[in-house]
């Protein structure tokens, strides 16, 4: 039986719940779970003040509530297991996670999976700024794992990303893949402006045409071999049109102010 955490009280101020991870809850009974600490603003409270726990952890945590928007750091640092969330979640979801899976049936906000190194995050709604990014001041963002967002994301998706996969079903904001070092970002909808600014390596793929910076130059139009493999992988989660699988892509290389080894691929029909 999964461990069910149902919200019983709404936080008045931001809450940091980095204890809500499989790693911390393994082997704990419902009563023990309720005694674990979380931060409500500057005060240390226990999970039981805001959530009722039932069942016991068997690999899955179910988190449900009407006001989870202020709950930050859900699944931070997790290495295994699954967290299923019903509702909108707060910042830093799955921050630095190394394994396991987080499924959100709702929206997420800024900082989904920052600096994660493995595992999987799937958001059924939208996410905010800085999905899969480096924290301010850090030079490397996400290094592995995958983030799938069915809706839209905002700016700086994959900032300084060095590995892994980010796929966005809707549109992305500006500076997608900024300062990217490696890895892959798929945006099935439209890209914002200034995609890939400062990128060294890595691939950014979109199914729509996009304005590019003057430091990106056109290389060729072709059918990259890996595209079919990736799109088939994505088709388990997103509806991928047949023509994308068969189509060719315009390749632009950049960013020329950096190594010029990154690529942006735009579906050409």
């Amino acid at each position: 039986m999964p461990l069910l955490l149902r919200q019983i009280a709404a936080p008045d101020v931001p809450m940091e719940a980095d204890n809500i991870t499989p790693d911390r809850l393994t082997g704990q009974g419902a009563a023990d779970v309720e005694r674990l600490a979380l931060m409500h603003g500057s005060e240390s409270r226990s999970i039981g003040d805001f959530f009722s726990a039932t069942g016991s952890y068997d690999g899955i945590i179910d988190l449900q509530g009407d006001d989870l928007k202020r709950v930050k750091f859900i699944g931070a640092g997790m290495s295994r297991g699954t967290i299923r969330v019903e509702g909108d979640v707060g910042e830093h979801l799955g921050a630095g996670m190394g394994g396991g899976e987080i499924l959100v049936n709702g929206n997420a906000t800024d900082w989904v999976g920052p600096e994660m190194s493995g595992g999987r995050i799937e958001i059924h709604g939208n996410a905010g700024h800085l999905t899969g990014s480096a924290y301010r001041g850090a030079s490397v963002g996400m290094t592995g794992g995958e983030i799938m967002v069915h809706g839209n994301v905002r700016n700086e998706t994959g900032n300084a990303m060095r590995g892994g996969l980010i796929a966005i079903g809707g549109n992305s904001g500006d500076f997608t893949g900024v300062n990217m070092l490696s890895g892959s970002i798929f945006v099935l909808g439209e890209l914002g402006i200034r995609t890939g600014a400062g990128m060294k390596r890595g691939s950014i793929i979109s199914m729509k045409d996009a304005p590019l910076l003057p430091t990106f130059s056109y290389s060729c139009t072709y059918r990259p071999g890996y595209m079919t493999l990736y799109l088939l992988h994505l088709s388990r989660v997103f509806a991928i049109a047949e023509e994308y699988l068969q189509g060719s892509y315009k390749r632009y290389c950049g960013d020329s102010v950096e190594l010029n080894r990154g690529e942006i691929l735009l579906y050409a029909g």
């Binding site: 003057p214 430091t215 020329s256």
Partner: protein, 454 residues
């Protein structure tokens, strides 16, 4: 005018980030007014001329009812200590000494501290952390700079003496002929009153600064740029190439940038692109970059915050140690998300200039406010203190926009206490309350960083 007149030499104007320290003020001591401010620019003259002290205003109020200072300090301290997510905001128009006390209070109550930097050059702060800064003092610019570029700012109207004292007509050791020894470029989206002072004006299409800066960076690195850049940005490839040649071949180049860059789409990436351009140019010559800061001591706020917490703005102490995350811990965002349950506002008036959602929340929470005059914020405040004006009635330290500390002289006394005195009193009381609460809980309750301040 009375006979009782005092002349204060080498006084400092704290109206803008130039912090000119060569004012000669004539003070009518009976009227308690400054009647003449020699050397001040039009903004400085207005700043001094409009200064008056409302002597019969109460020193402190609780819910708009006059109270004693002690009562107000007690109520302010209790309000802040009882909050779970209190914020401290403002701080750019006060002395470094007061700023330091505000940081100590926030640390003790495990609150969130942010300055007006977050609504002006905060993006530059993020960019500095990301790409670094090739920096200087304005004295160096005066003595050495032979290429001066202003990007996204209108100093003729916002910092009137910037040209004359430091960067355009100023005569220095290696620039004895002033403007004749310099090439001055103004880059902006429209022709402003600063344009006539410049040797060259480059007009960029609105929202295209990043593209132009990025193309300049590419050209500095000898990369190819397509001539259709003109269509997109409004600046021809030829103009860019010429500018790049000029930048590479100058002796000492400086890039000044304003809020036209930091507050338009792209924000910290715009500042970052400009800082990176300055860094790139150091392959060829000496090149520096500097934000042109607005408020008198906003630079001091950055310095004090960085010195005390490690970060310039948007710092949170909820967990007992400082964390920096603009967007999450910046005031407008926190208020708009209604994440805050009390506020300490020092020397600024967010109720008059914040987005409506943020103001609405400010009206719903207890606010402690320190200001030299009645403001919209002081009116909605739970506890409001009336303070003396820094630079006129209060001495102390401020930082000029180039991070040079300047000591203030006071011209005459005010009946009101200054920010530092009030904040120190609040800090002491806050500390007692937090310690008492900690003892009741059997813990220390005070984070260690707060302890050493006497």
């Amino acid at each position: 005018m009375s006979e009782n007149v005092k002349v204060v030499e080498n006084a400092t104007c704290t109206f803008c980030g130039c912090v000119c320290d060569d004012m000669i003020l004539t003070v009518d001591m009976d009227e308690k007014r400054i009647t003449k401010s020699k050397n001040a620019c039009i903004l400085g003259k207005a700043w001094f001329a409009e200064h008056y002290i409302e002597e019969d205003a109460p020193v402190a109020m609780i819910d708009n009812r006059p109270v004693s200072m002690e009562e107000a300090v007690e109520e302010a301290a209790r309000t802040l200590v009882n909050a779970r997510f209190p914020i401290t905001y403002g701080l750019s128009d006060t002395t470094c000494e007061a700023q330091r006390q505000a940081v100590a209070i926030t640390d003790t109550i495990r609150g969130n501290i942010d300055t007006t930097t977050s609504v002006c050059h905060g993006p530059s702060g993020i960019a500095l952390q990301g790409v670094g800064e090739s920096t200087m003092t304005l004295g160096e610019v005066k003595n050495r700079a032979d290429l001066v570029i202003y990007w996204g700012g209108n100093p003729a109207e916002s910092h009137p003496r910037h040209f004359g004292r430091y960067a355009v007509t100023a005569k220095g050791m290696f620039t004895p002929r002033g403007k004749k020894d310099r090439h001055v470029v103004l880059v902006d989206v429209r022709r402003t009153p600063s344009a006539p002072a410049a040797s060259q004006f480059i007009q960029v299409k609105p929202g295209k600064d990043f593209e132009v800066l990025w193309a300049l960076r590419a050209l500095v690195k000898n990369r190819r740029i397509d001539p259709d850049i003109e269509e997109e940005t409004g600046v021809s490839l030829e103009t860019m190439e010429e500018l790049v040649e000029r930048m590479k071949n100058c002796r000492y180049g400086v890039l000044f940038f304003g809020m036209g860059l930091t507050m338009t789409r792209g924000r910290h990436f715009n500042s970052g692109a400009l800082l990176a351009l300055a860094t790139d140019l150091n392959e060829y010559t000496h090149f520096v970059a500097k934000p042109v800061r607005g408020h008198g001591n906003v630079t001091g706020a950055d310095n004090v915050m960085s010195w005390q917490t490690g970060y310039p703005f948007g710092v949170n102490f909820s967990r007992g140690f400082p964390r920096f995350n603009p967007g999450e811990f910046t005031t407008v965002d926190l208020l708009a998300k209604r994440d805050v349950d009390a506020a300490l506002i020092v020397a600024t008036d967010p109720a008059s200039n914040f987005p409506q959602a943020a103001i609405d929340h400010l009206a719903n929470i207890p606010v402690v406010c320190l200001d030299t005059k009645a403001t919209l914020t002081s009116k909605l405040a739970h506890v409001a203190f009336r303070t003396s004006t820094y630079g006129i009635n209060t001495a102390g330290t401020v930082y000029r926009m180039d991070d040079v500390p300047i000591t203030l002289r006071k011209a005459f006394d005010s009946p009101f206490p200054n920010d530092e005195e009030i904040l120190t009193a609040i800090r002491k009381r806050v500390r007692e309350l937090v310690l008492a609460r900690g003892q009741a809980r059997g813990a220390t309750g005070v984070s260690r960083a707060a302890a050493p301040l006497q």
